[in-house]
């Protein structure tokens, strides 16, 4: 649910990076933070818990134009990925405008990916949201590792609705901005 700031003439949109633990959500966010112009972004805030953390920052892309005179400010969040941190994940999803699911492509994390996707649907459903109605993209991360599942197999398990998906290597930035641009575009479309 985007929020409008009339004083600064900005529409604030919340994008949540979801996915299993150690899948690369934080790496995505850190890469984006380091690449966007410092004068357009807020601080990178890390909310640490005992062994997991949530990252947050906001930025105003300069090249996206305006919607009826309003600029769009994106607030990017990660969630703690481990199964038992669900209370945090659920809270962070509240008021979400767009979701990026960062899947870990490694074969041994397939069950963790599916469980996390299941948990995403479940948490959204509790707020009355349906992922089919929300801007949603998937990133298959860690494509540089040797033990990855084929994209077709990941699509089959994680992407039954065939939403836009991107291959990524977040450590080097491959696919990071493709993923962000795709979800940003869908969010802006949903506002228009």
């Amino acid at each position: 649910m985007s929020m409008i700031n009339y004083a600064s003439r900005e529409i604030n949109c919340k994008i949540v990076y979801y996915g299993p633990g150690l899948g690369g959500k934080t790496t995505n966010l850190e890469y984006i933070f380091n690449k966007v112009a410092p004068n357009t972004r807020g601080k990178l805030i890390s909310l640490a818990t005992e062994s997991e953390r949530t990252l947050f920052f906001d930025f105003l892309p300069v090249d996206l134009g305006t919607i009826r005179g309003f600029k769009t400010r994106f607030h990017l969040y990660t969630v703690p990925g481990q199964v038992y941190y669900n209370a945090s994940r659920k809270l962070i999803l509240k008021g979400v405008d767009g979701v990026v699911f960062v899947a870990d492509s490694q074969v041994e994390r397939l069950d963790a990916n599916i469980e996390s996707m299941h948990n995403l649907y479940e948490n959204l459903a509790e707020y009355g949201y349906d992922l089919r109605q929300i801007p949603f993209v998937i990133q298959y991360n860690k494509r540089d590792l040797p033990n990855v599942s084929p994209v077709e197999e990941l699509d089959q398990h994680l992407n039954p609705d065939r939403v836009p998906s991107y291959e990524g290597v977040a450590t080097t930035g491959v696919g990071v901005f493709d993923t962000l641009k795709a979800v940003a575009k869908l969010v802006i479309k949903s506002l228009g």
Binding site: L47, E50, S51, S88, G95, A112, L120, E126, G128, R132
Partner: protein, 194 residues
């Protein structure tokens, strides 16, 4: 008076005497959503203001939840039983209540994956143990090498089992081999340690 949960639309009958003039927060026993119950007097006067939590505030709440704060709000509040009993009054100030915006109808939400509870339990067990292994690769290697997996992962395995039981129920957890299988296959890398 009747009160409808704005999220799942379940209607509860509430004794108006239990709703103070300034309103109360209530948790829906069907969907778990928190909403504000507006007193009849206030309803008559005007529509309630919609104040949403800022993203930063939500994240701050989230951080608290893992240290014990909001988790209580999530699970331990008494919940009303539809259709007769009233939503419980909460001490929080009513202006913090996240009342969803009126107007836009909510789409019917859909779940993901197989509805089969056994398949779900198996996957959950594997995801939990896969988390433990992924976060502690060095300890896993040491445990395998020294034959001390059980001892080295005592804390994580207790926490994982607890989460597993919470989600699938004690009967399924005890009567199926999924958790043990996941331990042997994933944490013990195929050896029968557990």
């Amino acid at each position: 008076m009747n009160v409808a949960c704005p999220q799942c639309k379940t209607v509860f009958r509430v004794d108006p005497r239990k709703v103070p003039t300034e309103g109360v927060r209530a948790r829906c026993s069907v969907c778990g959503g928190v909403f504000e119950v507006v007193s009849e007097a206030k309803q008559a006067a005007a529509g309630s203001a919609v104040i949403d939590a800022t993203p930063a505030a939500v994240a701050a709440e989230a951080a608290e939840s893992e240290t014990g704060g909001a988790a209580v709000a999530d699970r331990q509040e008494p919940a009303p039983e539809p259709p007769a009993s009233p939503p419980p009054a909460q001490a929080a100030p009513p202006q913090r209540a996240p009342v969803p915006s009126a107007g836009a109808p909510k789409p019917a939400a859909r779940l993901f994956g197989q509805p089969d509870p056994e398949a779900r339990a198996r996957r959950l067990a594997r995801a939990l143990i896969s988390d433990v292994a992924a976060y502690n690769p060095d300890r896993q290697e040491a445990g395998l090498r020294e034959g001390r997996l059980k001892e080295l992962f005592q804390v994580e395995l207790k926490k994982s089992w607890q989460e597993y039981v919470d989600q699938v129920g004690i009967e399924v957890a005890r009567s199926t081999p999924y958790f043990r299988d996941a331990l042997n296959e994933i944490l013990a890398k195929g050896k029968r340690v557990f």
